[in-house]
Symmetry: C2
């Protein structure tokens, strides 16, 4: 394992100027710290993606090639290690479960891209664009089933309960998101419920199972679950902000996707709430009635900037960042704990 020479972060407040911005580096340092585990996890992912039906590993290879941050399996590996698991010979359960978590995530990505009719994912053509919607739905189902085979192989009912409940919650979050689509009267609490389901629930489960395999105490399990929840909430809030702020190449997805789909996210809700009557009419037309012209996205970005809606969204993310860092308090200081703290910061840094 490679050591990182990272320094502690200032968690909240402060301007970007004069402060070391780590962003992606924090995540890279965590990956590097867990390099051996991640290599084993990547191998497990490739191995368990195999099938006698050629299209499955083909589509799988595309997804593996597309990369992604592997943030969720990293969380499982890091949580297990933070609880002292993985040092002894034969302590490998966290590897299989990290792969399992990534399979659940990949299955939901495949289905999301079908549901959202996305054509880009992580800056590459999405699987549905390349292989068609049918293949994406079915290979998603396959990966979902495989994830349960991985859990069964692990053999812990507690782990299964956590991950199967998270899987149900993800689907509920996605359905709820669909129900709020185009609806500007969606309360912020409903929006938060959506992002909890679609994102934070799996982050939380990924962290918690790490503690469970370590056989650590209940407090550690709950603390890591809280860390994952708050991290996931911050992560999704920033993701939603980036959809109205970021450059396509940085983001690896099409800017304005959420806008075009009439997805209800905090930047829109905040801009709508603060908006003039004229602006509200604009939002009603483009989001509720879904009548959009090419000029509407730039105009939307303008209003969002004017109403400070990105800052409002990032501020909300910062609250969760604080919670996530706080959740780690019960663990003694260590390099890994520091990296987990920095990973939280990464979620907000990438919005700069």
């Amino acid at each position: 394992m490679v050591s990182s020479s990272s320094e502690p972060y200032v968690v909240s407040g402060g301007e970007a100027a004069g402060r070391e911005v780590k962003g992606e580096d924090a995540l890279k340092a965590l990956s590097a710290y867990l390099a051996d585990d991640m290599t084993a996890c990547n191998q497990a992912i490739i191995d368990r993606m195999q099938s006698s039906v050629p299209l499955i590993p083909q589509l799988g290879a595309h997804l593996v090639a597309a990369g992604g941050k592997r943030l969720r399996p990293l969380l499982t590996l890091a949580s297990a290690r933070l609880c002292g698991y993985g040092e002894k010979e034969g302590e490998t359960r966290h590897i299989g479960l990290a792969a399992c978590v990534e399979f659940i995530h990949t299955a939901t990505l495949l289905h999301d891209d079908v549901v959202d009719e996305s054509t880009l994912r992580r800056g590459m053509a999405s699987a549905n664009a390349l292989f068609g919607n049918k293949a994406s739905v079915l290979v998603g189902d396959f990966l979902f089933a495989r994830s349960f085979q991985l859990m069964t192989a692990d053999g812990s009912l507690e782990v299964m309960a956590i991950l199967s409940a998270a899987s149900a919650t993800i689907a509920e979050g996605e359905v709820l998101q669909m129900s709020t689509q185009n609806d500007l009267s969606t309360p912020i609490e409903r929006y938060l419920e959506v992002i909890h389901g679609k994102t934070a629930a799996l982050f939380a489960a990924a962290c918690r199972v790490g503690a469970v395999v370590a056989g650590h105490n209940r407090d550690a399990e709950l603390a890591l679950e809280q860390y994952g929840t708050s991290l996931g909430m911050a992560f999704q809030l920033v993701d939603d902000a980036l959809d109205y702020a970021a450059d396509q190449q940085v983001l690896g997805k099409t800017v304005g996707d959420d806008f075009r789909e009439g997805k209800i996210t905090l930047p829109v809700l905040a801009a709508y709430e603060q908006g003039t009557e004229e602006e509200r009419q604009f939002w009603k037309r483009v989001i509720e009635d879904n009548e959009q012209t090419e000029a509407d996205l730039p105009h939307a970005l303008e209003i969002i900037a004017r109403r400070d809606a990105i800052r409002i969204t990032i501020e909300r993310a910062r609250e969760y960042v604080g919670q996530a860092v706080e959740a780690l308090a019960c663990f003694p200081e260590s390099e890994l704990k520091n990296l987990l703290r920095e990973t939280v910061l990464y979620t907000v840094e990438r919005a700069r």
Copy 2:
């Protein structure tokens, strides 16, 4: 439980004339025999379909209202009972697992209808036609996750291994079917592999878990698994025959669906194999090139009748019927065994 006054069937050969055709009655008798279990199972299905997200039970209610034969949960209940489970106080595991099997099946139906762009299911508007593809994909995911929660609640790793493997096999079968679409050079073995995956694997798992909860011996488990496999193969072969033979109201689905989708099934493969050069050109145009006019379906039905392709398909189904009946040999004669034998016959009777 209501007794059935059924008599043993003649399994193979013979003409319809002069023989009592039971068809649907056999399945009704099995349902009636297991009435208490089925009531409990239906209740479990309704209970576990609940969610704080209103659209999920709404779509669920549509699926429950659409009914369906509940053949797969019936198989779990019957298998458990055949192995002597369910008589004693507190022996209720088969109920939850039957619901679990139905959830897996319903999830695959929802996704199939999206993949196939079907508008009818069991004679009613399909869920995707009523609620949209997005809802069908996501609620399918939810039901799939719920099925794993039901397995976790049951707590048997053996059951989980069987059902999660079956779930992966179903997805593989569906992907393989997609790969063979429009391809008239598909070998019959590949077609059989497809229907094993998409249908027989869950029938087999549904039966096997019934034996597993009963804690019955390995021989009984394997016998019931074989029964389920063969029954599933026969069932799907007949289903594929009906797509070129049946009246829409009898079938509860649109006749010619498979034809329009360019799906490769035995009636087409048999007709193609036996066909004249002119007929082969026809099949190439309508199936491989997917160029179809309104007159093509009636013409296809004509050729299929001329080439005896329905009979060939049903004959193949009969072979599996024989295997399924044979698989029951290790169980002592009983009313339930008799009903399971008749259920096999039902699969072929409905093709008349």
